[in-house]
C-alpha cells in the first residue's frame, strides 16, 4: 500500500493501482526471472494447512466425533455428498472424491487468503495456478471419457443425439469448440479473473482511501469514510465470491467428469 501511495503523492492526482501491483517483489531471489514469489509461498502454505487440518480431524476416527473431527467430517461430507455424490451419482462417485476434495479445499484456502488481512493475496490472482488446475481437470475428464467409451467418446461428446442431420455441420464444430477448446479456458479464467478482479477492487479501494485521507480539503478527507464503507461491503462480497469460486470450480469438474462417464446418455 505504501508503494501504491507513493506515485499518487508525487503526481498530486489519483493513480489507480494496476495489474502490475499483483507482482510483488520476490521474497527470495531466484535464478529465474521472478524469483520466489509470495504466491508460491502461499500455495505451499495452503498444502500444509489443508493436510494438517484434515489429518488431525480424521486421525481419531471416533464413532461419536469431537469438535475437530466433526468439522472435518462436515467439510469432507460437503464435497463427498454435496458435490461428488449428487452430480456423479451414487454408483461410481467414490473414485473421484479425492480429486474433487483436493481441488475444492486447495482453491478455497488459496482464495480465502485474499480475505485475510496481512496475507491479502489470493494465489490464483496469478493465472498460472488456475491453468494448472484446469489442465489437470481437462486431462482427467478426457481420460475418463476415453477409458469408459473408447475412442467413440469423441463422437459421443461432439455429435449430440436427436439432432437433424442437416444441422449437424453447424452443431458439431460448435460442440468441438465449446467442449474441447473453450471449456478448459473458461474453467481456468473464471477462477483467475474473479480473484484478480476482487484483489484489484480491494487494492483500488485501499489506495483510494489513502489518497483521500492525504488531501488538504476536509470534505475530501471525510469522503474517505464513504469509500471505507463501500470497500467493506466489497470485501464481504469478495469473501463470498472466493468461497463460491472454489465451489463453482469443483462443481464444474464434477459435471465434466459426469459428462465423460455417461457420454452415451447425453
Amino acid at each position: 500500500m505504501i508503494a501504491l501511495a507513493l506515485p499518487a503523492q508525487d503526481s498530486g492526482e489519483f493513480t489507480p493501482p494496476g495489474i502490475e501491483e499483483l507482482h510483488l517483489p520476490a521474497i527470495l531471489p531466484w535464478g529465474a526471472a521472478d524469483g520466489f514469489s509470495k504466491q508460491m509461498l502461499l500455495v505451499i502454505l495452503s498444502v500444509v494447512i489443508i493436510a494438517t487440518f484434515f489429518l488431525l480431524a480424521a486421525r481419531k476416527q471416533q464413532l461419536v466425533p469431537g469438535k475437530l473431527q466433526f468439522a472435518g467430517e462436515m467439510a469432507y461430507g460437503f464435497v463427498r455428498n454435496g458435490i461428488a455424490k449428487d452430480i456423479i451419482g451414487s454408483k461410481d462417485f467414490m473414485k473421484y472424491v479425492p480429486l474433487l476434495f483436493s481441488l475444492f479445499f486447495f482453491i478455497l484456502v488459496n482464495n480465502i487468503y485474499g480475505a485475510i488481512p496481512v496475507i491479502q493475496l489470493p494465489s490464483f490472482s496469478h493465472v498460472g495456478g488456475a491453468y494448472v488446475l484446469a489442465a489437470i481437470v481437462y486431462v482427467t475428464w478426457i481420460a475418463i471419457g476415453i477409458k469408459k467409451n473408447g475412442l467413440k467418446y469423441f463422437k459421443l461428446a461432439t455429435v449430440p443425439s436427436g439432432v437433424p442431420i442437416y444441422i449437424l455441420p453447424i452443431v458439431i464444430p460448435i460442440e468441438i469448440i465449446s467442449n474441447f477448446l473453450v471449456r478448459p479456458v473458461t474453467h481456468s479464467l473464471r477462477l483467475f479473473a474473479t480473484m484478480l478482479a476482487g484483489h484489484l477492487i480491494v487494492m483500488i479501494a485501499g489506495s483510494g482511501i489513502e489518497f483521500l485521507v492525504m488531501q488538504e480539503n476536509v470534505l475530501l478527507k471525510g469522503a474517505s469514510v464513504l469509500v471505507l464503507a463501500g470497500s467493506i461491503a466489497m470485501y464481504m462480497l469478495e469473501a463470498l465470491i472466493m468461497a463460491l469460486q472454489a465451489y463453482v470450480f469443483t462443481l464444474l469438474t464434477a459435471i465434466y467428469i459426469e459428462g465423460a462417464l455417461h457420454a452415451d446418455s447425453h
Binding site: 501491483e21 505451499i44 469432507y76 479425492p98 476434495f101 486447495f106 496469478h126
Partner: protein
C-alpha cells in the same frame, strides 16, 4: 486499458494471461502433494470412520431386531407350552375320571358277584342240611315208630295204667336216648 495502466504505473508490459512457469510448477507440485495425502490418508480415514459409524448404527438396529425376534419366539414357545400343559392336564383329568368310574364299576360288579356267591353257598348249605335232617328224621321216625310199636305190642294194652306207664317209660327212654345222643 492494458496500455493505460502500464503508462500510468510506468511499469513494464505484463500480460496477466501469461503465466509464471515457476508458479505453475509450485502449484502443480503442491497440488500433487495434497492429492497424494488426500488419496492416501484423508479419504480412507474418513471413509473408514463413516463405514464404522454406519456399521455401528445398522449393527445396533440388527441386534435390536434380533433380540425382538428372539423375545417373540420365546413368548410363542411359552404360549405353546402352556397350551400343551393345559391339554395334558385335561387329558390326565379325563383319564383319571374314566379310571375312577372303571374302578367303581369293577368293585360294584365284584361285590355283586361275591354276594351272589355267598347267597348261593348259603342256599346250598341250607338245602343239604335240610336234606340231611329229612334223611335223619326219616330213619329216626321209623326206628321210633318201630320201637314204639314193639313196646306197644310187647305190653298189654288193656290196662290204662300200664299203658300210661309204657308211654311214660318210652318217653323217658326217648329222653334218655336223646340225652345219650346229646352226650
Amino acid at each position: 486499458m492494458h496500455q493505460t495502466i502500464i503508462s500510468a504505473a510506468g511499469a513494464e508490459a505484463a500480460n496477466p494471461l501469461v503465466p509464471n512457469v515457476w508458479e505453475m510448477g509450485v502449484v502443480l507440485v503442491g497440488f500433487a502433494v495434497l492429492f497424494y495425502i488426500v488419496v492416501k490418508f484423508v479419504v480412507p480415514m474418513f471413509e473408514k470412520t463413516f463405514a464404522e459409524r454406519a456399521e455401528a448404527i445398522e449393527g445396533g438396529i440388527a441386534k435390536a431386531e434380533k433380540a425382538q425376534a428372539e423375545a417373540s419366539a420365546a413368548l410363542e414357545e411359552y404360549k405353546q407350552q402352556l397350551t400343551d400343559a393345559r391339554a395334558e392336564a385335561n387329558r390326565i383329568r379325563e383319564e383319571a375320571r374314566g379310571e375312577g368310574a372303571q374302578i367303581l364299576a369293577d368293585l360294584k360288579e365284584k361285590a355283586a358277584a361275591e354276594s351272589a356267591r355267598i347267597t348261593a353257598q348259603a342256599h346250598a348249605a341250607i338245602q343239604s342240611e335240610r336234606q340231611a335232617a329229612v334223611v335223619a328224621l326219616r330213619t329216626e321216625v321209623g326206628t321210633l315208630a318201630t320201637t314204639l310199636a314193639g313196646r306197644i305190642v310187647g305190653e298189654a294194652l288193656d290196662n290204662d295204667e300200664r299203658s300210661a306207664r309204657v308211654v311214660d317209660r318210652f318217653l323217658a327212654d326217648l329222653e334218655n336216648q336223646n340225652a345219650g345222643a346229646a352226650k
